[in-house]
């Protein structure tokens, strides 16, 4: 250990200047155990520490990670990964058993992983996750130290995306057994990624340093990165302006965007995001929005370009679809009125409302719930004003996030603001939520057997073109039903010092530090 420390110091001293960056990272990580994380302020760090079998390139696309290559059987149900010769940061070899260990662990009920359901396609996975079977029964095998076979119950088009998440990255079984539950601590932890954890002062900073054992260490330019938990966007912006921070995530509130565009043009990075801002409708019987005509009318009356252009102005795309257009394999399809002039839309909306039995004597009274944020409030006020010509009277209900989402979960709302951010870069993440027992389906009460069947079929389709068609059909069906009111596709807004290269905006908003370079 001492020898290693000396070596690292020597290496730093010998290079003329160590290349390091400071990152304003939003919140303080709750954990750095890659299987217990719940947000991107955590995965930005765990992704630097743990390399998946598959991983992300700088542009967000999938590239081989610890697996050199893989084969998928013709029926789409068996994945065979060939691991490269690689070492943990303590010099131990990374084996197929480490990869199998991680997949079994992520499904253990006690680990309580938030995204464990993404691994349910693996044989036996769900039973393990609900505590009905032992982790050892998982459908994975390791014929030799470099080969991992994963057996699925059915072909799953997005499975590689799920494997790219840090929760599925191989884990150092030997280190976890030695250190126990809190194994991700400086000095204890062992990593496989381009960096190792060297310091963690809670609420103050987390330092990671280049891992000389990383399989592609020769291509990594960055020597050290320090993450600062700065929850206040204004503070992050200030500290970026003083030059203290080189990268500041989510540091430009919409109110400061125009200013930033004028004053920090060379640092401002805006890009599309696989995230959708929409209003969820409660479709249960007896609810006003159980009537499709009302849902269509409400959709017709909203001028989305006013919201994205005048209220937000950061480049969000007004949407009349559900799956953000920046998503990989994004399906086509949009609401039928998309190309109608506004006048005609309003006329039709009024007719629909009248047909549904609403008029000046009998106005539609709706509650619209949103969670606390200035932008959500402005948008809600604007939408309410756009509905007014239809004779809709809106009562706005504001609550803090925990209450807001509990209200939605319990179905105690009429219209509710919702932001859905993709976990995996695939349309299934969005469309699946309205299918079967998905989260949006449970909350909104949306049930349509044919839609469910289309979504299920799309998951099993291995030919990309066929799958695209099925996904488009599914999305179109949801939209023709006006099951929700899409408003816009999100954008990501970050600040990156112009001296840095290798940082690219991408729809998954992943920015692996291993590709960072210093501009001359």
């Amino acid at each position: 250990m001492a020898a290693l420390g000396g070596l690292a110091l020597g290496a730093l001293a010998s290079s003329a200047q160590a290349f390091s960056v400071n990152i304003a990272n939003g919140a303080e990580p709750g954990t750095l155990d890659p299987q217990k994380t719940s947000g991107n302020w955590e995965t930005r760090i765990t992704r630097a520490l743990f390399e998946g079998l598959v991983t992300y390139a700088a542009d967000g696309s999938l590239v081989p990670g610890l697996a050199e290559r893989w084969e998928i059987s013709a029926d789409g149900k068996t994945y065979t990964f060939h691991l490269r010769d690689a070492e943990w940061s303590d010099g131990e070899p990374i084996t197929a058993e480490d990869a199998a260990f991680a997949l079994r662990r992520v499904l253990e009920p006690a680990v309580a992983n938030h995204n464990a359901n993404l691994y349910y396609p693996i044989v036996g996975a769900r039973a393990i996750n609900v505590g009905e079977a032992a982790p050892a029964s998982l459908g994975v095998e390791t014929p030799d130290a470099h080969t991992l076979k994963i057996h699925l119950t059915q072909p799953t088009a997005w499975f590689l995306q799920a494997l790219a998440m840090t929760e599925a990255a191989p884990l150092p079984a030997h280190a976890i057994e030695a250190a126990g539950e809190h194994w991700v601590e400086p000095g204890k932890t062992v990593s496989s990624g381009a960096f190792t954890l060297s310091e963690w002062q809670p609420q103050a900073r987390i330092v990671i340093a280049k891992n000389p054992h990383f399989h592609a260490a020769q291509d990594v330019a960055l020597d050290q990165a320090t993450f600062y938990p700065i929850d206040d966007a204004g503070s992050a912006l200030n500290r970026f302006r003083t030059g203290e921070m080189d990268i500041a995530y989510s540091s430009v509130p919409s109110s400061r965007f125009v200013w930033a565009k004028q004053n920090l043009a060379d640092a401002l990075r805006v890009g599309p995001l696989t995230a959708e801002y929409f209003y969820m409708f409660n479709l249960r019987d007896g609810q006003p929005l159980a009537d499709r005509r009302v849902r269509e009318a409400l959709n017709l009356a909203v001028r989305r370009e006013v919201i994205t252009g005048q209220i937000l102005g950061q480049g969000q795309t007004p949407s009349t679809w559900f799956v953000p257009r920046g998503t990989a394999n994004a399906p086509g399809g949009q609401m039928a009125f998309a190309d109608m002039p506004m006048e005609a839309r309003l006329t039709r909306a009024r007719q629909l409302m009248k047909a549904a039995g609403y008029g000046p004597e009998h106005p539609l009274r709706l509650t619209l719930n949103y969670n606390t944020l200035e932008d959500h409030k402005k948008i809600a006020v604007a939408v309410a004003a756009m509905w007014k010509p239809l004779g809709v009277e809106v009562a706005l209900v504001n609550s803090e996030a925990a209450v807001h989402y509990a209200t939605i979960r319990q179905g105690k709302f009429e219209v509710a603001r919702y932001g859905m951010v993709a976990t995996i870069n695939d349309p299934f993440d969005f469309l699946g939520s309205y299918a079967d027992d998905g989260s949006a389906s449970r909350a909104s009460g949306y049930h349509d057997a044919e839609y469910d069947a289309l979504v299920a079929r799309s998951t099993g389709e291995l030919d990309p073109a066929t799958r695209q068609r099925t996904l488009t059909q599914a999305q179109q069906r949801l939209l023709d039903d006006y099951a929700l009111l899409p408003l816009y596709d999100y954008v990501s807004v970050h600040l990156v010092s112009p001296r840095l290269d290798g940082w690219q905006s991408n729809p998954m908003d992943v920015h692996p530090l291993r590709y960072l370079e210093e501009r001359d």
Binding site: E28, G30, T31, L32, D33, K36, S38, P109, A110, V111, A112, N113, H114, N115, A116, N117, R126, N129, V130, G131, H182, V184, E185, Q201, P202, Q203, A204, Y228, P229, I230, D231, D232, G234, S235, N238, R239, R241, T242, E244, E400, A401, A402, V403, H404, Y405, A406, T407, I408, R409, Y418, G419, M420, V421, T423, D437, S439, A440, R442, A443
Partner: protein
């Protein structure tokens, strides 16, 4: 004195017990749980999370479990900061908050007391109006306004001091948060000291002292200041406890790793154990501070004695 102190400490136990019980149940009746967020979890996964934190047990059971752990000095694991226990979080954050809060109170006393005294002595003069006008502004402008302005002006535009960060407690990082935190306290203390001083200067024993022919300077320094400080001292107890646990705005804006933010963040995240931990800690701090204040009373005012 010793037995009085012990008695007070013993009396604090039932008080704390009531505080803990009420906060425990209040926290649980609040709508929304720790796992309610933008990403709605599948039922299987929510069940695993609830089981991991014993939230699947009946509420009275959970209460008993919590109290049992508390007796052993265990505040439980934080729901959000999974790699840390609540005790670890508080122990790491407390020294930082204590340093910032302590310095702020010290600064507030050093500036607020003389200002208040000066204003009282020259009542209705320009000095008085100037001090009280400034103090009123200090009270009226909340620190979520002052702090960002400080950071922007002194941190970014003038670049005299760091715009934020803790940096292990280096003094340049301390200046802005301490000053921002103390401004309101300076204002409160100056106003309180002025009012109390005016009252004291009008009392019989001061008249007697003046009648004895003492100089005005002697009257003020020897007789008036000490009793006039009593209200300020009793204000200090809860103020110190509050400034240490409640400097959430300052800690967030300047990125200081103290415990202030745990209370608010914990409540918003429904991090039950973290909120409870902070409440218990705050409760103990208040009890201790009030006790110290009461003991200080007898030092300031010989008429107050704590006999057994």
């Amino acid at each position: 004195m010793l037995s009085y102190t012990l008695k007070r400490l013993l009396m604090a136990i039932p008080t704390l017990l009531i505080v803990i019980t009420i906060s425990f149940f209040l926290m649980r009746v609040a709508p929304g749980g720790p796992f309610d967020g933008e990403r709605q979890l599948p039922p299987e996964i929510e069940a695993n999370l609830k089981a991991a934190y014993h939230l699947d047990e009946p509420l009275p059971m959970q209460y008993l479990r919590y109290m049992g752990n508390l007796l052993e000095g265990d505040f439980g694991p934080s729901f959000k900061y999974k790699d840390f226990s609540v005790t670890e979080l508080i122990m790491q954050g407390f020294p930082v908050s204590l340093e910032i809060g302590g310095l702020a109170i010290l600064l507030a006393l050093m500036i607020g007391l003389p200002l208040g005294i000066a204003a009282a002595i020259r009542r209705n003069s320009t000095v008085d109006y100037l001090v009280m006008g400034t103090a009123l502004t200090g009270i009226a402008v909340p620190n979520f306004v002052i702090a960002p302005i400080f950071a922007l002006v002194f941190g970014v535009l003038l670049a005299w001091l760091p715009a934020g960060g803790w940096n292990g407690g280096a003094w340049p990082n301390l200046v802005l948060p301490v000053v921002a935190l103390s401004i309101q306290q300076i204002a409160y203390i100056a106003r309180m000291m002025r009012a109390s001083m005016i009252e004291t200067l009008g009392s019989h024993f001061i008249r007697t002292a003046r009648a004895k022919g003492l100089s005005e300077r002697e009257v003020i320094w020897r007789h008036a200041i000490r009793p006039a400080m009593l209200p300020v001292v009793s204000y200090l107890g809860p103020a110190i406890a509050g400034i240490i646990t409640g400097s959430v705005v300052i800690e967030q804006i300047f990125g200081i790793p103290g415990i202030g933010r745990y209370f608010v963040q914990g409540a918003l995240n429904r991090d039950y154990t973290l909120v409870m931990g902070t409440v218990v800690f705050y409760g103990v701090l208040i009890v201790l501070m009030n006790l110290i204040v009461d003991l200080l009373y007898s030092a300031l005012d010989p008429q107050i004695r704590y006999d057994d």
